[in-house]
């Protein structure tokens, strides 16, 4: 019985920490960040862009081969990167989480797999991932507890 209470207590504490993280104003962000991205068949370099919530992100885009696109899930960004030109697009990173960057110009065989990642942190952590991980552990505990109770 005590064990179970301890477990519940620990879980509850974690939840509170998480809620604090989520509702407290973001500890960082609000800066202007310039990110240089080079597109090529079939990837972006760098492939993962990590910024803070509230940052204004200036993407400076170039391609080393063919025309590519630059689309960010959920961020209303869709531009063309034309060879020999530099394309600039500015995004205010207001929603935390991981968002795929996708190529929106057919650029060769593996074009549908040409993705990058735009990760927006809150208070220095990937809050969406953390929340989902807590959720998943919650599912594990609930399912385990359920079969445990039912099993005996």
């Amino acid at each position: 019985m005590l064990k179970r209470q301890l477990l519940a207590g620990a879980w509850f504490t974690l939840l509170i920490v998480f809620a604090a993280l989520f509702y407290a104003p973001s500890a960082s962000g609000g800066e202007v960040v310039t990110v240089h991205i080079t597109a090529r068949q079939f990837a972006y370099e760098p492939g993962r862009v990590v910024v803070n919530q509230g940052d204004t992100v200036v993407f400076v885009l170039e391609t080393v081969d063919v025309t590519h696109g630059f689309y960010i899930d959920g961020y209303d960004v869709d531009v063309r990167i034309i060879p020999g030109e530099t394309q600039t697009v500015t995004v205010v990173a207001d929603t935390p989480g991981k968002f795929k960057i996708r190529c929106s110009e057919t650029c060769g065989a593996l074009h549908p797999f040409m993705v990058g990642e735009f990760i927006v942190l809150r208070s220095g952590v990937n809050i969406a991932f953390l929340g989902a991980a807590f959720g998943l552990v919650g599912v594990v505990l609930a399912a385990t507890a359920y079969v445990w109770r039912r099993g005996d």
Partner: protein, 133 residues
């Protein structure tokens, strides 16, 4: 064999033949168009230089006969541009096609090139149009 079997067999043959025949027929139709005396129809497919460039890269047209160039691109976005004839298709996305109609008015050789920077080898993506009497 009873009636059902015959019907089933007929359906099977139809299912295999109809799509094959329509693709073959489409090909014939294209050829027939090319032979048209009134208009000279030419299909040109754009491939990045690394993949072989324009196909075909040399075409011959007769002077004074209306020409219809149908240009598609097969891998990435290309454009069809003949500076000396003032022809330009603009960008053609893969799988799409552009149609240019004009009447060749003087004989000679004209270079066509790709107007969209399509790859490292973009500059060498060239071909030529020869206009004869």
């Amino acid at each position: 064999m009873n009636q059902t079997e015959w019907a089933a067999l007929a359906l099977l043959v139809a299912v295999l033949l109809v799509p094959s025949a329509s693709i073959y027929g489409y090909d014939l139709w294209l050829d027939a168009q090319k032979l048209d005396e009134e208009v000279q129809v030419v299909w040109i497919t754009g491939w990045a230089a690394e993949n072989g460039g324009w196909s075909p890269s040399e075409i011959t047209l007769r002077k004074g006969v209306p020409a219809k160039l149908i240009i598609t691109s097969a891998d990435v976005t290309h454009g069809f541009h003949v500076p000396d004839l003032g022809l330009d298709s603009g960008p053609i996305a893969p799988g799409h096609k552009a149609v240019i109609e004009f009447v060749p008015e003087e004989t000679g050789t004209f270079t066509f090139r790709c107007s969209v920077f399509c790859s490292e080898g973009h500059q060498s993506m060239v071909g030529k149009i020869t206009v004869v009497e």
